[in-house]
């Protein structure tokens, strides 16, 4: 399984790509594999300011449903506009076409608490 070194990770299986004051967020390859075939990604929090660990959306797979959690505090700037029509992109390309939201990072100090790829791999036993 692939866990790019340039991303940061959470215990809830989200990844974070930091680009200046903005973070792009999705779920990891491990998470998409555990969920199985993804049917909908429901994100209705665009424009809202959410705290770290708040729910920003929900991912519905055929067999299961899972909440999506904010890795950091911030305003949800946008969601992936292609994800409604193409939710399977989360299965096929979780770090690329399957990205979920972009967030304006409110508290950069929270980034230090996120996991490295190595720490995340250790957590999931890879």
């Amino acid at each position: 399984m692939n866990f790019p070194d340039n991303l940061k990770y959470t215990k809830d299986h989200e990844w974070v790509l930091v680009n200046g004051e903005t973070a792009t967020i999705g779920i990891t390859e491990f998470a998409q594999g555990e969920l199985g075939d993804i049917v909908y990604v429901e994100i209705e929090t665009v424009g809202e300011e959410l705290g770290q660990h708040d729910v920003f959306g929900t991912v519905e797979a055929v067999k299961t449903v899972s909440d999506l959690f904010m890795p950091v505090t911030g305003v949800v700037l946008e969601k992936n506009p292609a994800i409604d029509a193409n939710p399977e992109s989360v299965n096929k390309d979780p770090y690329g076409e399957g990205w979920m939201i972009k967030v304006a990072i409110a508290n950069p100090s929270e980034l230090a608490g996120l996991m490295s790829a190595a720490d995340y791999k250790a957590m999931i036993g890879q």
Binding site: G36, D37, V39, Y40, T58, E60, V62, K63, V65, N91
Partner: protein, 367 residues
């Protein structure tokens, strides 16, 4: 591995599943494959070609004796006297309080020998229940631990399996079986049954043949794109057909009449709960199990509440999924009888929303 995992049983084919990259989960006391290539892919393989399920966790009891039929008639709801040699019947075990101990298949091997096939999670419970009613001197054997079961399902199942036997599979009608030579081995039960609505057979044999038969079936089906299929797709396939799953749609608190199983509840014989169920059938029941499909976008799941347009709770979802064949949310659940007619608008409470759905006729999926 936690303590509970240590006590899980394995089917004779666990190593095969692991080698095929299956995701293994604990289910009904067994380590079972839940998926291999992906649920949708496995599901559509069964609908369009042929797939193989290892369902060796299922329980099998052999009942033998002059009065075997009397015992079966007493404990089951369907009329087993209608069976002839080589026929199978879907039935259930009423629990004496209007609920269901389990649902099962009854195989008539001969006039004095029957095989009952029960759910893995209920093997012990069913055994105790039937034993308790065995005042007939019937010899009972639990052969679950030494019996393997493969369900080979899909439109290419017959073509696949016919390569492995001289028994004409086209001459085994639905809910019939034959015992004979298969893949070079004797005494294999070949049953035209399944839990998918896709057609195909279920094959029963001793554990020591499991590896050989598994390999033979996959070799025979290679030209049709045969694939292994896990419990995940087994659930979506059965739900598209509106087949009940014990523990979800039926259990010790639901009656066969409420569950739409009146067709396997026959009042021309004596059996457990006959009077109670007969009264329910005549007077009607206050809730019924219905199928429904989503109108709004959403996926119903077990235990979600069902509401009417005014927001009153009228029932609960017992099974739900995104249908891989129909590409929409489908489910089953109990609703107040006044809401049970097809096309009735109902609302499924999914997180903080009430999403529109309508009562639908089952099966959801039609060929």
């Amino acid at each position: 591995m936690d303590a509970a995992a240590d006590t899980l049983k394995n089917t004779a084919l666990l190593e095969k599943h692991i080698a095929l990259g299956a995701k293994i989960v604990p289910f009904a006391g067994y380590n079972m494959p839940v998926s291999y290539s992906g649920l949708n892919d496995e599901h559509l393989t069964v609908r369009n070609a042929v797939g193989v399920f290892d369902v060796s966790h299922m329980g099998e009891f052999i009942l033998k004796g002059d009065k075997a039929l009397d015992l079966i008639q007493l404990v089951t709801s369907n009329d087993a006297s209608a069976l002839t040699d080589g026929r199978v019947q879907y039935s259930c075990l009423p629990n004496g309080k209007g609920g269901i101990v389990d649902d099962l298949l009854v195989y008539r091997i001969d006039g004095k020998t029957y095989m009952l096939v029960v759910n893995a999670s209920n093997i012990e419970k069913d055994w105790n229940w039937i034993s308790k009613h065995n005042n007939f001197g019937v010899d009972m054997k639990d052969i679950s631990d030494r019996t393997s079961l493969l369900a080979v399902q899909g439109p290419k199942a017959t073509d696949t399996l016919q390569k492995l036997t001289d028994i004409s599979l086209a001459d085994i009608p639905y809910y019939h079986f034959k015992k004979g030579k298969f893949a070079g081995e004797e005494n294999i039960v070949i049953s035209n049954t399944g839990y998918t609505g896709a057609g195909g057979f279920e094959i029963y044999f001793d554990n020591n043949l499991a590896s050989k038969i598994w390999d033979a079936v996959f070799a025979a089906g290679a030209e049709f794109g045969i694939k292994p299929v896990g419990l995940g797709a087994r659930d979506t396939l059965r739900l598209e057909m509106g087949f009940c799953l014990y523990g979800n749609d039926i259990d010790d608190t639901t009656s066969p009449i409420e569950a739409g199983l009146g067709w396997i509840t026959k009042f021309n014989k004596e059996f457990t709960d006959k009077a109670l169920l007969s009264e329910q059938k005549e007077k009607g029941v206050s809730r019924k199990l219905v199928g429904f499909e989503m109108i709004d976008r959403g996926i119903p799941r077990h235990d979600y509440e069902i509401a009417d347009a005014a927001g009153n709770i009228i029932g609960k979802v017992t099974s739900g999924t995104q249908s891989p064949s129909l590409q929409k949310g489908i489910g089953m659940g109990y609703v107040q009888t006044t809401f049970s007619k097809p096309e009735t608008e109902i609302f499924i409470k999914i997180r903080d929303k009430a999403l529109k759905a309508k009562v639908a006729k089952i099966p959801f999926y039609k060929k």
